[in-house]
């Protein structure tokens, strides 16, 4: 088992959380720390534009964005335009990948696996889609994934950014953007899916965080 720390930042602005994860990543890169840390956070309504993205993928009017109180940031991760907001569990694992074969591709597969297993707790069947990052239920995205990696002097990769799992966000906020530039794909959430199957209607945000933490422990063989 690998010792790791799970840090819940709760409600935090995007730029503040970015600073926290970057500071930890820098400590790992400069070999001042070897702590494996997973941060979780819930952002206020926020749109981030990745390196492959364009502001044209924000399609809502200024008035609508103002009404929601949307904040917009350009960020140093791969991928296109992403929405974050209340009801979405955002996870930023700052890990050095040595214990998992130092393989950035395998790392993303493990993130996907963690989410797929978490959703299975509620009887939800989700899967990867070839060529489309994230985790999907049918052709609707339930979890966005976008990872950044930098290499230490000893050639070990250090990760930042991560995943955003839709637990019970206001899905209408997603219509302010073309998510990941994909105009023909929708988004869904755990609340939305459970309403349809009426299996487990009242699972709270913190319970889902616990489920996700347990699955991280399983898939990455972590001890918190």
């Amino acid at each position: 088992m690998i010792q790791a720390t799970w840090k819940s930042l709760s409600q935090t602005e995007y730029d503040e959380a970015l600073e926290i994860q970057n500071a930890q990543a820098t400590r790992l890169l400069q070999a001042e720390s070897d702590e494996q840390t997973i941060f979780t956070v819930e952002h206020p309504p926020t749109i981030t534009i990745g390196k492959d993205g364009t502001p044209e993928h924000i399609i809502a009017s200024e008035t609508r964005l103002k009404e929601i109180g949307m904040k917009i940031y350009s960020v140093d991760r791969g991928g296109d335009v992403t929405y974050h907001g209340p009801g979405q569990l955002v996870v930023y694992p700052v890990l050095h990948l040595g214990p998992w074969g130092n393989d950035v591709r395998k790392y993303v597969r493990m993130l996907e696996e963690t989410v797929i297993r978490t959703l299975r707790v509620a009887g939800l069947h989700s899967e990867r889609m070839d060529g489309f990052p994230g985790v999907w239920i049918g052709d609707q995205k339930i979890c966005a994934i976008g990872v950044r990696a930098r290499r230490k002097k000893n050639r070990e990769f250090v990760t930042s950014h991560g995943l955003a799992l839709n637990i019970a966000p206001d899905l209408s906020h997603f219509s302010t953007i073309i998510p990941c530039g994909l105009s023909n794909k929708g988004v869904t959430s755990i609340a939305q899916e459970l309403k349809e199957s009426s299996a487990l209607a009242s699972v709270t945000f913190s319970e889902w965080e616990s489920h996700l933490q347990a699955m991280f422990a399983d898939v990455f063989e972590l001890r918190f």
Binding site: G78, G101, D103, V104, Y107, V147, R150, R155
Partner: protein
Amino acid sequence: MQNVKLYQMGESVEEGTLCKWLKNVGDYVSIDDPLVEVITDKVNVEMLSDFEGELSEILVKEGQTALIGQVICRILEKAG
């Protein structure tokens, strides 16, 4: 002259797409300066320079895909 090769990024990774050069031909590059952003399988990897000198040639352009170990640029080390 140092041949800069695309990083090994894991056993299962065979190639990467160069999405953005962070240095231009003619730029002076120090060790650990960010050289190029590579995207592979949903991960954005920032490659840092292992060498110090002038970036003399870029062999793989933005948007093109390179195999792991392929030479993507050359750095002319300062003599002495």
